[in-house]
């Protein structure tokens, strides 16, 4: 008879006597030590488990919720609250902007398309559609030379809400430059467009899109979405402009003094951060009307900490996360490396893919199920998606995997009903896709069909 042993793996064993904590969270993945030298709270190998609330649980069901509205790849999703305090959940395809109807589950069950086409312009599928909401107005751009706007009430979006020169009734002048961007932001009451795409227009004739991945443009201060009673007119006409020859408080700068291009933005407090592949540029408002911003390249080295993947950067309140060449970083009051003992595995996955990874911070997986995590989605060469989940509360990483390929930036989106399960088969077989669609495209409402007023239930 040998000497007995019992090894317990329990958060109760990992408590900290110094702090009096009776339990501690799981440590998550550790691939940076041999498996017999890691902490008992860690794992050398795991997939599709979550370590939330001191327990080890199989991750939530991953399932198809709705089909693409028109059979094309979804380039972006989100929700916004309009000025009338009405929620709109929207998505983009290359055809344009769609919004989700009330009662999505019932519509799917009846085989109807839950998406309703709102309007164009057509979007560039080579880019994710970036969007921001300012005072109840959704602004979006796919870096296609257009920044469009929709307030949730108008029948169609305004195709061009950012342009040079004086607009007329919310429309650009006949000779102008239309402006789109990869990143939309706001600082000190200026709207900022970073990594711009611009279309010169001469006497109504449009030229080719020109890209300026090193350029930042800003509107004049004090834009007013309701000025003139024409939504969207705040940018090009009545309220504000991007044209410094119209208003000296607007302007642009080209960062030609750094070796890299703009790959993301983040706005925390009164400071903006422009991310480059190898650096970060700080934007500080000056209070000077003619020179409203001061730019400080925190470093401009050939190599350095920056945001490598333009869609992996994410922000939740005062916390942001981005992926650099050497590690994953969290930025709040300071910049902290968070890759930890999962870093090498994450970097290995990133190196294995040719599809742009995406990231998101979500406070919860659904209403009432809080899980404040940063998720980094990496498509694998096998067509699966590896999702690295970082708990911002417990400081651990766990890998999830699902068999579908992620192709856009995830976002928290509201719906107007309690969902019921609709199987993938129902959706893909067309049972739950839109009727009357063209060319067998599932769920498609052709964009030439007029939009319909939606009469919501009272209550």
């Amino acid at each position: 008879m040998g000497k007995p042993f019992q090894i317990d793996y329990s958060p109760a064993q990992w408590g900290n006597q110094a702090t009096g904590a009776r339990s501690a969270p799981y440590g998550g993945i550790n691939v940076q030590s041999p498996p017999n030298l890691i902490d008992p709270s860690e794992t050398p190998s795991a997939i599709n488990f979550m370590v939330r609330n001191r327990e080890l649980r199989s991750r939530p069901n991953f399932r198809v919720f709705v089909p693409s509205p028109d059979g094309n790849t979804v380039l972006g999703v989100g929700s916004f609250l309009s000025k009338n305090s009405v929620w709109h959940t929207f998505c983009f395809t290359k055809i344009g902007l769609y919004q989700l109807s009330f009662g999505v589950s019932a519509l799917l069950a009846k085989g109807l398309n839950p998406w309703v086409y709102v309007g164009g312009p057509t979007l560039d599928p080579a880019y994710f559609v970036r969007w921001r909401v300012f005072q109840g107005i959704l602004y979006y751009s796919s870096n296609n030379g257009h920044t469009s706007a929709w307030d949730g009430a108008a029948l169609t979006p305004i195709a061009d809400a950012a342009f040079l020169g004086f607009g007329v009734s919310g429309l650009p002048p006949a000779t102008t430059t239309l402006i789109g961007a990869q990143f939309i932001g706001e600082l000190d009451n200026h709207i900022l467009l970073a990594s711009t795409s611009e279309i010169p227009v001469t006497a109504g004739v449009k030229g080719a899109v020109a890209y300026f991945p090193q350029r930042l443009r800003w509107s004049n201060s004090g834009f007013n979405p309701t000025s003139g009673g024409v939504f969207g007119a705040n940018l090009g006409t009545a309220g504000a402009t991007f044209d410094p020859s119209v208003f000296v408080n607007a302007g642009l700068t080209d960062f030609i003094d750094v070796p890299d291009l703009l790959t993301g933005t983040m706005y925390i407090g009164r400071t903006g951060y422009l991310f480059r592949q190898n650096g970060i540029t700080e934007i500080s408002p000056t209070g000077n009307g003619t020179v409203p911003f001061d730019f400080n390249h925190m470093w401009a080295s050939e190599q350095g900490i920056g945001n490598v993947y333009s869609a992996s950067i994410a922000q939740y309140g005062t916390t942001g996360v981005f992926v650099a060449s050497d590690n994953i970083y969290k930025i709040s009051d300071k910049v902290v490396a968070i890759g930890g003992n999962a870093r090498d595995a994450i970097m290995s996955d990133l190196a294995s893919t040719s599809i742009q990874p995406t990231g998101a911070i979500t406070p919860a997986l659904t209403l009432g199920y809080n899980y404040l995590v940063y998720m980094l989605f990496i498509s694998t060469p096998q067509g699966n998606t590896k999702c690295w989940v970082y708990s911002l509360e417990d400081d651990n990483w766990m890998p999830w995997q699902f068999s579908d390929t992620i192709v856009g930036i995830p976002n928290k989106c509201w719906i107007g009903d309690v969902p019921v399960t609709v199987t993938t088969q129902q959706i893909v077989s067309g049972v739950a896709s839109g009727g009357g669609n063209a060319g067998g495209i599932p769920g498609g409402r052709p964009p030439n069909i007029p939009n319909q007023f939606f009469i919501p239930p009272v209550g």
Binding site: G2, P4, F5, Q6, Y9, S10, P11, P34, P35, N36, P40, S45, A46, N48, E55, L56, R57, S58, P60, N61, F62, V64, F65, V66, P67, S68, T73, V74, L75, V77, S79, V86, C91, T93, Q99, S101, V116, A153, L155, T362, T366, G368, Y369, Q401, S403, D404, T405, G408, I409, P410, K412, C413, W414, I415, V418, V428, F453, F454, P456, V458
Partner: protein
């Protein structure tokens, strides 16, 4: 609150999900997918978790006799409990047992499962695996139980 008639669509929100634009692997068609925490039994994707490999006493060959799992009953689930290690011929060896945990009622109670899985090996490592659709798992704690010889090898 009623949605104003002047609004073009929209709704009074009731809940939210993380919408993820995806291409469905089985059809190749674009969709939007979600993680749905109303179920922890994913029908399409398996799950596994390995704990630390244990030296017990460096240089000794311990014998694992059983594993002990304390779990929260989320419903019936079938899992494979495995102990893996290497023998003194430098070959990987393992011993597994398929078990069922939980109840149909999904009581939410903490329950205990003793699993008789025996293996003599260097650095035994406990792991659990769940095939796709095999049920939800919520482990509170796990234990590796056995013995080792006190004499020098």
């Amino acid at each position: 609150m009623a949605v104003p008639f002047s609004e073009n669509g929209g709704f009074n929100a009731t809940t939210f999900f993380l919408f993820m634009p995806t291409i469905a692997s089985d059809t190749g068609r674009p969709t939007i997918s979600i993680f749905d925490p109303s179920s922890f039994d994913d029908p399409d994707d398996a799950a596994s978790y390995s704990w630390k490999a244990e030296d017990i006493v460096i240089g000794r060959v311990p014998i694992v006799r059983r594993a002990l799992l304390v779990y929260t009953d989320l419903g019936l689930a079938t899992i494979t409990v495995t102990v893996t290690g290497t023998d003194d011929n430098n070959k990987q060896i393992s011993s597994s047992k398929v078990i069922q945990i939980g109840t149909i009622a999904a009581t939410g109670l903490q329950m205990t499962k003793l699993v008789d899985v025996t293996l003599a090996c260097f650095r035994p490592q406990l792991s659990i695996t769940r095939v796709a659709g095999a049920g939800p798992i919520s482990i509170v704690s796990a234990s590796l139980i056995g013995e080792y010889e006190e004499v020098t090898l």
